[in-house]
């Protein structure tokens, strides 16, 4: 995980701030090699920025908006420098608001607008865009250089079932490249082309399906504009909702309820489960189900599978609920696939059960059922269209809406979440859930849920203390030992979140340097509560992670049932329909398989030379 530079600087001993300078005429001190921007922020002086993002330690100095005027000691003339990457010096006089600095900041934004598509009303970032804010701050009044034809000629990549990369709105801040390269370490994005053709592109690929991208969506979370976003499917969802012949079923993920209220002005981390249930009913959803129920079923299947694999001496077993992790394994480390649990993810388990068991119970035709899934995740869209998760060409999950799209859908329907009277789930078959299902939304949660159930299966009684604090925490890779008792005894488990740490762990496993029995992987740092499909924040990365985690553990603590196997509706599902966990029927409906999708990265020198010549060459 990244440590915000600012926090670490603020925590530093003030005695180390040995550089003396003046900031807008006021004397101040700074740390050696600290940037002017960092110093200004510590002294509460605002400087407009765009490409810079402190939380991910990103200051490429490309937008050139944060220019300030400085007078260096011993120099006869003032200079203009970018504050984000220029260090302070003793005796430096910094003016952030001089006429020259303001004029240059404003002209820079006008130049940025020259090839930025300004159809703001149709943009997914409308009203929540850092570039709009910036234009306001610098007082942009004219737009002399905008060239619509040139702008519209820039590429828009619609090849992914999950994401859109729209270069007509890209400001080339490279935050997406940085998060993908340095934090997630997927390194699927490159910068390509020169001059006006400078753009973000996919490494070694023309389109998403052949790229190294795993659709984790962290790039979307850091994009300052609408250049990166999910593929918007709110219209498709509305089509289903408005069709009287269809029975629409909605499910929403454990993390959505704790990471949604702030969109409607509620405090961060508010549990809005009841509001979402009410909102879904109001927009005309027929059946409101809970993905947490799917999570409970996953624990039943995955727990049984793990015990069986342990019995066969197969170690380790990786969890399989995270679709970006599945993509990562298939594309980057296919050698690891035999170690993945075959259990489908909660979303896919719920959808399958909603199209088999539920119609049977409700006495309706499965053909009329459409499942709409609300997820804090971009990769879930990608998962939903996996061929192995479709029946006769129709996906089990018909449409996946990210949390952001769900907010958009509610606004389209004129709903303000905060004014709704919270409601409760009422489906008698698939909406009850345990506290174990709830904590699936955060790193360590799947492991904790699994241990609670496996312990009970092995020992025939519940654990004494079911809150396993040794599994909680926020370090990228955590490991713990858990005594499961009985024949199984002590097992060694690991939990990893963020793909950078996942890569390191997978390589260690492949080198045979680990002795884990069970490994939980969540591709997004922090887990689903900060998934790539969750609400965006501006100029910050994962600012609400801890609040959301707190709430999710509170949901568990307040739950009447806290183990998946004690969920009465899960018990009914097995009694009336599936038989036992890992039964033939359960295996057929709730398990899946994976494919080696390693990419061919071989090039000839001729191809490379053609690519170089296509861009600018000196010789």
């Amino acid at each position: 995980m990244c440590t915000p530079d600012l926090a670490s600087l603020a925590a530093r001993d003030p005695a180390q701030a040995t550089v003396t300078l003046s900031l807008n005429g006021k004397p101040c001190t700074a740390f050696p090699n600290e940037t002017i921007l960092s110093c200004a922020r510590r002294h509460d002086v605002y400087v407009p920025t765009l490409c810079e993002m402190d939380d991910i330690d990103h200051a490429p100095g490309t937008c050139r908006v944060c220019v300030v005027e400085i007078q260096q000691a011993g120099k006869d003339k003032p200079q203009i420098v970018t504050s984000c990457n220029t260090p302070v010096r003793d005796g430096m006089e910094v003016q952030t608001r001089s006429k020259k600095a303001r004029d240059m900041q404003r002209l820079q934004v006008e130049l940025l607008m020259a090839d930025h598509l300004q159809d703001c009303a149709t943009c997914i970032r409308h009203g929540n865009c850092e570039l709009q804010d910036l234009a306001q701050f610098v007082g942009l009044k004219e737009n002399r250089f905008f060239d619509r034809a040139q702008t519209e000629a820039r590429p828009i990549d619609l090849t992914s079932p999950a994401m859109v990369r729209d270069m007509t709105r890209c400001v080339r801040c490279q935050r997406c490249v940085a998060i993908c390269r340095y934090h997630q370490q997927v390194d699927a994005l490159v910068m390509e082309g020169s001059g006006l053709n400078r753009r973000v592109a996919l490494r070694h690929a023309e389109d998403y399906p052949n790229s190294l991208c795993v659709s984790c969506g962290q790039c979307v979370l850091v994009c300052p504009t609408g250049a990166l976003g999910e593929l918007d499917e709110t219209d498709r969802a509305l089509e289903f909702i408005c069709d009287p012949d269809l029975v629409t079923v909605v499910q929403f993920a454990p993390a959505v309820r704790v990471a949604f209220g702030e969109e409607f002005g509620m405090p961060a981390g508010t549990n809005v489960e009841g509001h979402i249930v009410a909102a879904c009913r109001k927009i005309g959803i027929d059946v409101v189900l809970d993905t947490n129920f799917g999570a409970d079923v996953v624990i039943m299947e995955e727990g049984a599978e793990l015990l069986s694999r342990l019995g066969q001496g197969k170690r380790p077993t990786f969890t399989s609920c995270c679709p970006a992790w599945i993509n990562f394994a298939e594309i980057h480390y296919p050698e690891i696939l035999p170690f993945l649990s075959s259990t489908r993810s909660p979303q896919q388990v719920l959808s399958r059960v909603a199209k088999t068991y539920l119609p049977e119970k409700m006495g309706i035709s499965p053909d009329r059922v459409r499942v709409i899934s609300i997820m804090p995740c971009v990769a879930k869209k990608d998962e939903a269209v996996r061929p192995q998760l479709t029946q006769d060409g129709r996906p089990d999950t018909d449409v996946v809406l990210t949390t952001r799209e769900f907010a958009r859908l509610l606004r389209r329907e004129g709903i303000d979440l905060k004014t709704l009277e919270p409601s409760t789930f009422d489906n008698p078959h698939m909406s009850a859930s345990s506290g174990a299902g709830a904590i699936f939304g955060t790193t360590g949660g799947v492991m904790e849920a699994a241990v609670r159930t496996i312990y009970a299966v092995v020992n025939g009684h519940e654990m004494d203390r079911i809150e396993l604090h040794q599994l909680r925490g926020f370090e990228g890779i955590r490991e713990a030992t858990v005594d499961l008792g009985g024949k199984v005894g002590t097992v060694k488990v690991a939990m990893v979140h963020g793909l950078g740490d996942t890569r390191a762990l997978v390589e260690k496993v492949l080198r045979g340097e680990t002795d884990y029995d069970f490994i939980e992987v969540m591709a997004c740092p922090g887990g689903c509560v900060d998934g790539g499909g969750s609400l965006r924040s501006k100029k910050s990365y994962l600012p609400l992670a801890q609040k959301r985690r707190e709430t999710i553990y509170n949901v568990d603590r307040a739950a009447k049932v806290r183990q998946s196997h004690n969920n009465p509706q899960v018990q009914a599902l097995y009694r009336d329909f599936l038989g036992a966990p890992n039964s033939d029927k359960a295996h057929h409906l709730l398990h899946t398989y994976y494919e080696d999708r390693r990419r061919d990265l071989q090039h000839t020198v001729k191809e490379i030379w053609d690519d170089i010549t296509a861009s600018t060459m000196l010789y």
Partner: protein, 665 residues
């Protein structure tokens, strides 16, 4: 003497026109500035620090348009002001020169120019408006005069050239900022592609290059030069492993008829580079090599702990991938003559013979030393055979190596690995004067080598032909002469003896005796090197030469550059019977003669970020083995190092009276 009519350079205004309104008009001494090529006078010159107009009738608007057009084409697009500014200004100037209605006036052009100059990220953006702003600030009346008729301005002749200090410093003119950009962009394979445009031995160069580029790197004014060689090694290692770039015959631009064949003599760096470029130009190339392996000095002269043999072999094999043939065991002067080659139908010959005979110390006792005496290059050859498993070599006791160059350092570090109990270096000057790479000296010191500087051998002591020691005399430095250089002279009576079991003379090399015979018609110069003209042509028509056999012992990169230049000239000679004017070389000379490429300090503060270093094996472990000491850096380290490049690109243009003749590119 070239007379400047008017101009601005480094902020100083020059104006010698009659009726000049500028009070001060200092002289500016332009060197070698009359003609660009024969009979084609230079009318104006534009650069990163300003411009000079020599012919008052030059159109500034047209010239500035061409300058900005080149700048826009070179803009990487990373930063806002340069990406948009170059294009907007270029298009505005284009409309002005065509006499069309203005979209942006001169005031707006000035504001955009200032924005580029003061806020751009790299040197290209920071410098590309300097000439424009100089003209607008000081000669705006001149520009307005040109624009007054509102008619198209007549097009002018000339050329544009983009370069950087590191590019100019590199003998092979590798586009260094470009390959670093590609690393930063996340395309290391393209980065390797940039290197491969100049030479095939990128992995070799990334390990042993002496790095003229890094000496020129302006980052050193901030903290340390960019690790250009380290990055080269990183991208070159893309060449191995499952995703290695493939060399295919379609790289050859225009395959030529069967009979268009060229002989390359010597499979060293010069020969390999020459063969590579000839193959790319469509020729059929046979490489004659006296030994049974390719690589020449890189093969036998560089120990495997610096350059693993398989790395080199992978790169020399590229010649075969491209359709070239190696003919091993073929020694010039022994197995064939130059005359034979022409008789066999070769259209031209390239001599890359190298300098493979070690120079003697010329002291008493040297001729009588039979056992335990080596010349540096012969010793390295034995080391090579030892590593290859052909002939094991072991050293006992103490070893003395005389010399302070890279070959001497290779000898001492190899001697240590072969079992010597103690290894000494004897060098006549001070430690800081050693021509060896500083890193090599430091590595030798880390491995426990003992340095005796300001010492010179006077006698080799032997018993029955077996070396027992070396007599040395202490040297002292003289006072600095006019050029500031200090010489050394022996201190009379300071002789002392350094007992040893072996001694190695590593003070230089020369072309092997007997390679060229009388009838070859290839003249040698007074240093017993092959004599060539500027085009690398020897005294025999159709025979070109390059590398150590022309320059004396030099560096890998100079040899590869010579091979590349020779290939271009051979192509011209075979196709046209003569070598054409090479306009880029002329532009380079213009820039270097006039020191236009400023090596100035960085004015704005830059955050210190020290360079990455190749991970190394521990000295105590490595000194016993010949495995490679330095390891490749990680991708994350490469990204970080690439960020340190400041992209010191600059654009230069000339305006000439006549079109500049088309030469090879």
């Amino acid at each position: 003497m070239t007379q400047v009519a008017y101009g601005v350079w480094d902020g100083v205004v020059y104006d010698t026109r009659p009726g000049s309104t500028h009070a001060q008009t200092p002289e500016y001494a332009l060197r070698n500035f009359e003609d660009f090529d024969d009979g084609n006078p230079i009318r104006a010159f534009f650069g990163d620090r300003g411009f000079f107009v020599l012919d008052d009738t030059v159109s500034l608007v047209d010239a500035l348009y061409h300058y900005m057009k080149k700048s826009a084409a070179q803009s990487c697009g990373a930063c806002t002001p340069c990406r948009m500014g170059t294009v907007l200004v270029r298009d505005a100037l284009d409309r002005l020169r065509r006499g069309l209605d203005q979209t942006l006036g001169l005031d707006e052009i000035t504001i955009l120019g200032e924005q580029m100059r003061q806020t751009s990220l790299c040197n290209l953006g920071q410098t590309c408006a300097v000439a424009l702003l100089g003209a607008l600030d000081h000669f705006r009346d001149r520009i307005e005069e040109e624009l007054a008729p509102k008619k198209p301005i007549k097009a002018q002749h000339g050329m544009a050239h983009v370069t950087a200090p590191c590019i100019e410093a590199c003998p092979s003119k590798v586009n260094v900022p470009r390959y670093i950009d590609y690393i930063r962009d996340g395309k290391p394979e393209n980065s390797l592609g940039v290197l491969l445009q100049q030479y095939p031995m990128a992995a070799t160069c990334g390990r042993v290059c002496v790095r003229y580029c890094e000496q020129a790197c302006r980052r050193k004014f901030v903290d340390e030069a960019v690790g250009i060689k380290t990055l080269k090694r990183y991208v070159a290692d893309q060449q191995s492993g499952p995703n290695a770039l493939k060399f295919t015959r379609d790289m050859n631009r225009k395959p030529l008829a069967e009979g268009m064949k060229v002989a390359v003599v010597g499979a060293g760096p010069a020969g390999i580079a020459c063969a590579y470029h000839l193959l790319l130009n469509g020729y059929h190339v046979d490489v004659f090599e006296k030994s049974n392996q390719a690589g020449g000095m890189a093969q036998i002269g560089i120990p495997s702990y610096r350059l693993p043999k398989d790395t080199l072999a992978m790169e020399t094999d590229i010649i075969v991938d491209l359709g070239g043939r190696f003919l091993f065991g073929q020694q010039l002067g022994h197995d064939f003559t130059i005359e034979d080659l022409f008789e066999q139908g070769y259209k031209a010959v390239f001599l890359g013979l190298g300098c493979q005979e070690g120079t003697k110390l010329g002291v008493t006792g040297e001729d009588g030393a039979r056992d335990g005496y080596f010349r540096g290059i012969d010793f390295l050859l034995k080391v090579h055979d030892h590593v290859d498993g052909i002939a094991p070599l072991a050293l006992r006791g103490e070893v003395v190596v005389v010399g302070g160059g890279n070959v001497a350092m290779d000898c001492v570090r190899s001697a240590l690995r072969l079992g010597a109990s103690k290894v000494h270096v004897v060098y006549r000057r001070a430690l800081g004067d050693m021509p060896a790479d500083h890193e090599e000296v430091a590595a030798a010191e880390a491995e426990g080598i003992q340095f005796h500087t300001l010492c010179n051998p006077t006698r080799i002591l032997t018993e029955n032909g077996k070396v027992t020691g070396v007599e040395l005399v202490r040297m002292e430095q003289t006072e600095p002469d006019e050029s500031g250089r200090r010489k050394v002279r022996p201190i009379a009576g300071s002789e002392f003896t350094l007992p040893c079991d072996s001694m190695i003379a590593a003070i230089g090399q020369q072309v092997e005796d007997g390679a060229l015979v009388e009838g070859d018609g290839v003249a040698l110069n007074r240093w017993q090197c092959v004599a060539t003209d500027d085009t690398l042509a020897t005294s025999r028509p159709g025979v070109f030469a390059g590398g150590d056999c022309v320059t004396g012992p030099s560096t890998l990169i100079y040899a590869m550059a010579a091979g590349q230049n020779a290939a271009r000239n051979i192509d011209d000679w075979v196709q046209r019977g003569s070598v054409r004017f090479f306009k880029r070389a002329r532009m380079r000379k213009l820039i270097s003669d006039n020191r236009f490429l400023a090596n100035d300090v960085v004015e704005t503060p830059v955050r210190n970020a020290y360079r990455v270093h190749n991970p190394e094996l521990d000295p105590d472990l490595r000194k016993h083995m010949f495995e490679e000491v330095e390891q490749t850096i990680s991708a994350q380290a490469a990204y970080a190092e690439a960020q340190r490049c400041m992209r010191c690109y600059r654009v230069y243009t000339v305006i000439t009276r006549h079109p500049i003749p088309e030469g090879a590119v």
